[in-house]
Symmetry: C2
Amino acid sequence: MKLSTRARYGLRALLDLALHQGEGLVQLKWIALRQQISLPYLEHLIRPLVAGGLVKSVRGARGGVTLYKPASEIRLREVIRLLEGPTGLVECVDNPATCERSAVCVVRDVWSAMEEAMVGVLDSMTLQDLVQREETKRQAAMETYCI
Amino acid sequence: MKLSTRARYGLRALLDLALHQGEGLVQLKWIALRQQISLPYLEHLIRPLVAGGLVKSVRGARGGVTLYKPASEIRLREVIRLLEGPTGLVECVDNPATCERSAVCVVRDVWSAMEEAMVGVLDSMTLQDLVQREETKRQAAMETYCI
DNA sequence: ACTAAGTCGATTATCTAAGTCGACAATTCA
DNA sequence: TGAATTGTCGACTTAGATAATCGACTTAGT
């Protein structure tokens, strides 16, 4: 039960993008550099986010990417769903047909409850929340640094 | 972010065992048969549960396995931990040293919250809860069948 | 035109989970 | 005692997914 690096890197990349919103288009290479992700790999991570309507990309010279909608309207649930694909924790939860026990399986209920709990957490957070936290943390770090 | 078959099969096997508690020692081959898990594989699944003190095993002819303590004292969290190993959703949550960003990483906070939510669900359920649900469901199915 | 970006698909590499097998140890029972 | 039965253990193989790279392509600016 491990989170894929797609999700980990992908969310970090998106947060990085959100943190640099004021500056217009952001080039992938800078995100890659800051987040220490190889550029070709980052391209793959961004793709589903573009396809999912979370990120807008502009090709050509001086192109780059930017958020398609305000960070406050981007729920982490959506982000993770796009990055990890539609399959949940266990196949039979989303797709009962894959296991003939589904209807009576109590173990399935457990996985279902677990998934609901996770989704609940992701659903309650937006990208904006992360941006705020990041800035709070950065400020706190700054202050201790100055003292 | 998939649950391993170890966890899925393992919990099913344990539940099967719990459901047959009244009958003394239960042989692995019957569990394997009922749950449609290959015997050699089931042996591997049971092992950590024995090592973890959830299951007692008796070797030799007429041997078998049985719960080491009442089902009501077996938390699912413990079961999953034994089956899946100690590593959580993301390395850096349990083991901050693996990522130098850990201290300031807000993305890590997200994973941490997710993990907490999942663990909370597992912590709130015992094997006995599953046994009861199973019996309730079975009874319900029985009634509809009779009608 | 030329350069600088993102896009896309093919490919490779790496890793881990999944599952099998054979030898062994313990226990029962004849 | 010895043969049958049952769990134990570790080595091995396989399969599949994830991670990551690469090169050819498209699009836009200068």
